[in-house]
């Protein structure tokens, strides 16, 4: 089982779209996949037709204890893809739990219990540094950082990478990181320049491909489907297919090295 966190401290950069489509492609390829929504706004939860105000099986309960993780999982309309939904109560977690020792490892321990059930777990993170983001970073084997290809988003990325550095120091381990340029519009000079800046500043941490602006991604969202299930040949779908392939290639390399 591999756990992939999708995180950036800036909102609106394509975190939920990336989570949905990574999870969707993996499920379509026959991988048992769980999507986890750690954002109290519940965009991912809503994507799959659930309401964060009313859904009883939700991730908040992991932090209050007494419930087994498997009992908090809901199915989606996509075969092999389940969801651990968000709850609006998540906004209270930092206040209730603060910096209690070990509370950053709750998700890691909970997801480890699902090892036999899933091949991949994709975690959609909130856009703020707090107990939920720390839980996601501590739980993940790999971090995907979507970055909108515009200059302001690059500043947000610097902040995210600094946060990641601090979390790595506390975890005392590396976190494999892949920066994914999103919402790329090659027709605009601003987009092209932002992509160049991103590659020159972060080098090989940046995925070679890009997720383009694509109306099909928005259409898929409206239809509550991963784009692969609605417009498989669209630019957006092809880009996410390449991203999944890239991630699986890296995994294969790392498995060979550690074998």
């Amino acid at each position: 089982m591999a756990i992939i966190a999708v995180s950036n401290q800036k909102g609106g950069v394509g975190k939920t779209t990336t989570t949905v489509n990574l999870a969707g492609f993996l499920a379509k390829q026959g991988r048992r996949t769980l999507a986890v929504d750690l954002d109290a706004h519940g965009s991912l939860t809503a994507y799959f037709g659930y309401d964060v105000e009313t859904i009883e099986k939700n991730v908040y309960r992991l932090f209050t204890g007494a419930t087994q993780t498997k009992d908090l999982i809901s199915s989606t309309q996509i075969p092999l893809l389940d969801i651990l939904a968000s709850s609006s109560a998540l906004v209270t977690l930092d206040k209730h739990l603060g910096a209690q020792p070990g509370k950053g490892l709750v998700l890691r321990d909970a997801l480890t219990a699902l090892k036999q059930r899933y091949d991949y777990i994709i975690v959609d993170c909130p856009p703020v540094l707090g107990i939920l983001m720390v839980n996601a970073l501590a739980a993940c084997d790999r971090l995907v950082v979507p970055v909108q290809t515009e200059v302001m988003a690059l500043r947000g990325l610097d902040r995210m990478m600094h946060t990641l550095q601090m979390v790595k120091q506390s975890l005392r381990r590396e976190v494999n990181t892949l920066i994914v340029p999103t919402m790329y519009d090659r027709r605009t000079r601003a987009g092209v320049e932002a992509l160049q800046q991103l590659r020159s500043r972060y080098g090989a941490l940046v995925w070679d491909g890009v997720i383009p602006e694509d109306t099909y991604l928005r259409e898929a969202s409206k239809n509550h489907l991963p784009v692969a299930y609605m417009a498989e040949k669209s630019k957006g779908a092809l880009a996410y297919a390449l991203l999944v392939e890239h991630i699986r290639n890296i995994e294969a390399i790392q498995e060979r090295v550690s074998a």
């Binding site: 206040k95 603060g98 209690q100 020792p101 005392r172 090295v257």
Partner: protein, 219 residues
């Protein structure tokens, strides 16, 4: 991040270091393993680091102990020519099977630049650590030229170059005292040191990166 149990909080007029300390303490507390030998506060971490350094000194370890070696770390051991060498896992960026497909280096390039391989759709120069170590007069006598010996490339330095290896052996977990760290005046500054038990040299990829730049090993 507000909590009354928090060990530190920001005062008015706090500077960036105060902020980092507060965030660092917050993260250390959240990520403390239950029952594990953790060092939650900055003071405890510093004490821990000092203890490690002290242990290292008493074992005749020089001052060139990289900061990441203050905790347990992993290296990938491999063979290059007749040598056993290693790269810290934290420095690894990828692995390429050469498949015998090399783009030769430009004329006049240093002989430890073996050539170039394709990695993630880019051309990555590959250096031969064996030739780097081998005295110049012996390089011409090497039975097998690097390009025929090297089967894999460990890509490092965020993909800027790769280290050619004959065969990959295994991943080893080490502590600072397992290694004889190089001194400040070492001629081979691109070696971190030698694993005592295995006589295996650990490559310093940051210094190798500088060497690559100095020698204009670029494609």
């Amino acid at each position: 991040m507000s909590d009354s149990t928090h060990k530190k909080s920001l005062e008015p007029g706090a500077d960036i270091d105060d902020f980092r300390n507060v965030v660092g303490d917050y993260l250390n507390s959240l990520l403390a393993e239950a029952g594990a030998n953790t060092h939650n506060t900055r003071a405890e971490q510093e004490k821990f680091a000092a203890e490690i350094k002290h242990d290292a000194r008493t074992a005749n370890v020089s001052r060139c102990l990289p900061p990441w070696a203050q905790q347990a770390f992993q290296v990938v051991r491999f063979t290059a020519g007749e040598l056993s060498m290693a790269v810290p896992v934290r420095d690894m960026f990828g692995l390429v099977d050469t498949g015998g497909a090399w783009v030769p280096p430009r004329a006049g390039a240093p002989d430890w630049w073996v050539g170039t391989v394709s990695f993630q759709s880019r051309l990555t120069p590959v250096i031969d650590p064996y030739f780097l170590v081998l005295p110049a007069q012996f390089r011409a006598l090497a039975v097998r030229p690097p390009a025929s010996r090297i089967t894999k490339v460990i890509v490092t330095a965020d993909g800027r170059f790769g280290v050619g290896v004959d065969t990959i052996d295994k991943v080893m977990t080490l502590s600072a005292t397992d290694v004889a760290w190089r001194g400040n005046n070492s001629r081979r500054r691109w070696l971190h040191g030698t694993v005592r038990q295995h006589l295996c040299a650990i490559l310093d990829t940051e210094e190798l990166d500088k060497l690559v730049v100095e020698n204009n090993v670029v494609v």
